[in-house]
């Protein structure tokens, strides 16, 4: 047959890497295939009857989609196997026709249920479904359709899910495939909607079924003849989807174009394999995420919560897309081992509770590169893109909180004061939109909402001291609310609280500090500042507009690009400025009169935690006897103690260390070099001996008086 000939031509062109386990399996299957082939030849007439092809007409009416899956399996075997499988190849044509019918029906169903976007859940069942379909291949010829009710359901799910998974990362697939995939996904969506309630039950069954499906698939493969393409067996699931795509392609083109389509199909197979791999990885993650929302489906959801859900899902899908793009390049080699791993993970996750699932996610999600650096494994990275996607997005989060989380993680919102204000703003919105569920006290309910929001935000980016203190203050006042307070009044109180905090602790404090420092700036001074601090900018601009005439030296480094922004703003305000790289500071320090820097936070022992490089500048100033002023509002004072920058720090994006303008940068391929890991620490600690004075809104203090300030704050606010 023409088809079989082309099939055999195709097989050698598909190349996959072989691991030892794969080789073993291949060998085993070859043996068994040889045996089966022998059997097949003997059983030729009987095979034709037993072949699922004949079962297909029965099932077209019952399970159009499951048929596709079965056909998919078959076709896969066809394409990869020898010309001995004439029966199978013959059946493919018939199947394609039936497929068309099935697809049409699927489309109809899908359109009906297209509004419910439960794609993710489809993915969840996806991995399982693949196995189910393979199992069903085995089952249906053996069993009667009676026993297969569950199986059929699963088949439905699996087929939908399989395809839906691929749909979510559909970019690479060709248009034809997309078309069919879309229709299938829609159908999947519809079916999944039906089975929302059954999920709990079916999940455990599916896990078992996955295993059985695997075994069935393996057996099916052994029975058919295969040579040389047995690697594909490992990538079972993806191949199944590929086959369904193939079939769709085949159905679209008739015999005349079959050669062409098969070649196209091969290419799309490769694409789909990669995409599906990526999707599976994301599926595993997303499944664990959605264990929680499933439980909460009973509770009523406000518009805001629904929006948050949709947003979260969108972002998960976006993340999945990105993952597919990245992983296609990176993980081609690891393809065979990965799918199996993710499948087993999914099985585990479905059994485990949510916190455990989160834990496994976190350990999995720890970026590989950070594991290379022994000393810094205790530090949070937060910047690795993959770990961002892995963070569970609770559908109960307010959209403002979700948005803030993304802004924090992508460093759109940066700087101590900015982050604090953004956090309080998001909190305010959350309070405004918060709807009290029945039988809960306002304070308790809001507190739990606050806890989950805060947990999410801190996982996106570690909190600064200003943010931690703001949350402490808010929480303290929240718990102080009387029990029987009216919801509206409580909200008003909290909102006023937040407004007051921002106004007093940040705005007024900044004004007071600006006035105090202005006393210290004399006419004709050369002031040096490092990095970008909103407070220092305010001080300098206001002093200038008050008539003090001085010169500013702005110091930045390759990593502190924000300093250039500060430079621009100061120049716009009319100040005479100079810009330096930090490497040149020792040259100009003798001409400098004062150094003014901002702080991330002030620690109890008097150390200053601020942007990396500040300690260096302070040391240089000390060596040249130049006084160093640190401008910090009291809300940045934290009750932690730190003597060095190792125990607590934040690791930024390592790629920032690479010089972008240098094309032949030796750091470019650091990921492939096991001995090279760029480390980008964001903070450093300036010891109190290097700081002359700390300017707060209370007073100009020596560094060592930080605990005094904390004590007075405690007396004042109770926090």
């Amino acid at each position: 047959m023409v088809l079989s000939k082309t099939n055999s031509e195709i097989s050698p062109t598909i190349v996959f890497q072989l691991t030892t386990s794969k080789k073993r399996r291949i060998r085993r299957k070859k043996l068994q295939a040889a045996r089966a082939c022998h059997n097949n030849q003997q059983k030729k007439p009987t095979d034709a009857k037993n072949h699922p092809r004949e079962n297909v007409p029965k099932e077209v009416g019952e399970n159009p989609i499951s048929v596709i899956e079965q056909i998919g399996n078959e076709l896969k075997e066809n394409i990869k196997l020898d010309s001995n499988t004439n029966n199978l190849t013959m059946s493919s044509k018939e199947k394609s026709r039936e497929e068309i019918l099935a697809a049409r029906e699927a489309k109809k169903l899908a359109k009906q249920k297209a509004k419910k976007g439960e794609v993710v859940q489809n993915e969840v069942i996806g991995t399982q479904s693949i196995k189910d379909t393979t199992k069903s291949d085995k089952d249906i010829p053996k069993q009667n359709s009676d026993s297969g009710d569950k199986v059929k359901k699963e088949l439905k799910n699996t087929s939908k899910d399989k395809i839906s998974k691929v749909t979510s990362t559909v970019i690479k697939s060709k248009d034809e495939v997309d078309h069919l995939v879309d229709s299938n996904t829609l159908v999947n969506i519809g079916n999944v909607q039906k089975e929302n309630l059954d999920k709990g039950q079916t999940s455990s069954e599916k896990s078992k079924e996955e295993v059985m499906a695997e075994r069935a698939a393996k057996k099916a493969m052994k029975q058919a003849n295969k040579k040389g393409v047995s690697e594909m067996v490992e990538v079972d699931k993806k191949n199944l989807t590929e086959e369904s795509k193939k079939e769709s392609l085949l159905k679209d083109d008739n015999a005349a174009e079959k050669d062409m389509t098969i070649k196209d199909v091969v290419e799309t197979l490769k694409d789909i394999a990669n995409v599906a791999r990526a999707v599976q990885d994301v599926t595993a993650i997303v499944q664990s995420i959605h264990l929680e929302p499933k439980k909460q489906e009973e509770s009523s959801k406000s518009k805001a919560e629904l929006k948050a859900e949709r947003r979260a899902k969108q972002e998960a899908q976006r993340a999945a897309k990105q993952a597919a793009q990245e992983q296609k390049v990176v993980k081609q080699k690891q393809a065979p081992s990965k799918p199996e791993k993710t499948v087993t993970d999914v099985a585990k996750l479905s059994k485990e509770e949510k916190p455990k699932a989160k834990l496994t996610e976190k350990t999995k999600s720890k970026p590989q590169y950070i594991q290379r650096i022994n000393w810094f494994q205790h530090l949070s990275t937060g910047h690795e893109k993959e770990s961002l996607k892995n963070i569970a997005i609770n559908s109960n989060l307010h959209p403002a909180i979700v948005k803030l989380g993304v802004q924090l993680a992508s460093r759109v919102v940066a700087g101590s004061n900015a982050r604090c204000i953004a956090l309080l703003d998001a909190l305010r919105k959350m309070v405004t939109d918060y709807t009290l569920p029945a039988k809960t006290e306002f304070a308790r309910g809001l507190e739990s909402q606050l806890t989950s929001s805060v947990e999410y935000l801190w996982s996106m980016r570690q909190p600064s001291a200003s943010q931690t203190n703001a949350i402490k203050y808010f929480r303290h006042n929240l718990t102080q609310l009387p029990n029987n307070v009216n919801e509206h009044d409580a909200k008003k109180t909290l909102k006023d609280l937040i407004d007051n905090y921002v106004r007093e602790q940040i705005d007024k404090a900044g004004e007071a500090i600006s006035l105090a420092v202005r006393e210290k700036i004399c006419n004709g001074d050369n002031i040096l500042t490092y990095g970008c601090s909103s407070l220092v900018e305010r001080i300098l601009v206001e002093a200038w507009s008050a008539g003090v005439r001085f010169h500013v030296v702005v110091v930045g480094s390759r990593l502190q690009r924000a300093a250039i922004g500060l430079l621009r703003r100061l120049c716009t305000a009319g100040l005479p400025c100079t810009y330096l790289d930090i490497t040149a500071v020792s040259y100009v320090i003798k001409k400098i009169n004062k150094v003014i820097v901002g702080a991330g936070s002030l620690l109890v022992n008097g150390s200053v935690l601020s942007a990396a490089g500040t300690a260096q500048v302070a040391l240089l100033a000390r060596a040249a006897n130049v006084p160093v002023l640190v401008a910090a509002e009291t809300h940045k004072f934290s009750d932690r103690v730190q003597t060095d920058a190792f125990v607590y720090n934040e690791i930024g994006d390592p790629d920032e260390l690479i010089d972008k303008s240098d094309e032949n940068s030796p750091l470019k391929d650091w990921r492939s070099n096991p001995n090279l890991t760029p480390l980008n620490l964001l903070y450093d600690v300036t010891p109190p001996s290097l700081v002359t004075a700390v300017v707060t809104e209370l007073a100009i203090l020596p560094c060592t008086s930080a605990p005094v300030v904390l004590r007075t704050k405690l007396a004042e606010h109770g926090v």
Partner: protein, 248 residues
């Protein structure tokens, strides 16, 4: 008072504290006379506290003057004088080196008073501080003002003395009453307020101040070991703590 021809640091801080103290009282809706009475009362209390402060400081410093020790002091300070006189009364044997402290040679007066009390005192030149430092055991000085940083404002020459003491590892003890605590925070010598450095008559005469000799200088907290005050014996970093308690 700020315009009188005397060093002003202590005056300004004392006055400010006085104002705060008397107005700190709870003045509810009472008649004006009553308020006046209350303020006067508090004023008296403040004054008494001041007068007693010196005695308290001297008492605190007593254990630090050991038998047979050699003390270096700078210019004339009544607190230091009182401490030494009390030590002499307690039959301790010690030797004192007093710098002459130009331009007003107030060290000479200090020397005379010590000798008349029977203390073994030697008058030395300001420039021989480095020479004599290796022979002394402790340095004991007064202060005209104590800054928020924990440093002191004292007669010109104190800074050099502090630097020499740090280099030769001699402890520097400052004896100062609490009303001398001021809220200023100088970053360096240039940062001192002009009223402190020069007599008001000099400032008013609008001479070129860079040609004038300042009266006082600022000794940063790094050079000071301990401060003896009527609030207790403090380290320089604790001064800010006390200041906040006093002023807030």
């Amino acid at each position: 008072m700020r315009h009188c021809d005397q060093p002003v640091a202590a005056i300004s801080s004392g006055c400010e504290l006085f104002m705060r103290f008397i107005t700190f009282a709870k003045i509810d809706v009472k008649s004006f006379e009553e308020c006046e009475q209350i303020m006067l009362q508090r004023g008296h209390i403040f004054l008494n506290q001041l007068l007693e402060a010196r005695g308290k400081v001297a008492e605190q410093a007593l254990p630090f003057i050991s038998d047979g020790c050699k003390i270096l002091t700078h210019s004339r300070s009544r607190v230091v004088l009182q401490a030494m006189l009390e030590a002499a009364k307690a039959n301790k044997r010690f030797q004192v080196f007093v710098t002459m402290s130009c331009p007003d040679n107030s060290g000479e007066l200090m020397h005379k008073q010590l000798v008349s009390a029977g203390v073994d005192a030697t008058l030395i030149l300001d420039s021989s501080v480095g020479y004599i430092m290796e022979q002394v055991d402790i340095v004991m000085i007064g202060a005209e003002g104590v800054t928020e940083s924990g440093g002191i404002i004292n007669k010109i020459g104190t800074y050099g003395l502090g630097m020499a003491a740090l280099e030769l590892k001699k402890p520097v003890y400052v004896l100062a009453e609490s009303f001398k605590f001021s809220r200023i925070y100088p970053l360096n010598q240039q940062d001192l307020p002009i009223e402190f450095k020069y007599l008001s008559s000099v400032i008013k005469s609008k001479k070129n101040l860079s040609q004038e000799h300042p009266l006082v200088d600022y000794t940063p907290p790094a050079y000071i070991t301990l401060l003896f005050t009527d609030l207790g014996i403090l380290t320089p970093s604790a001064v800010s703590d006390e200041l906040i308690n006093l002023y807030l």
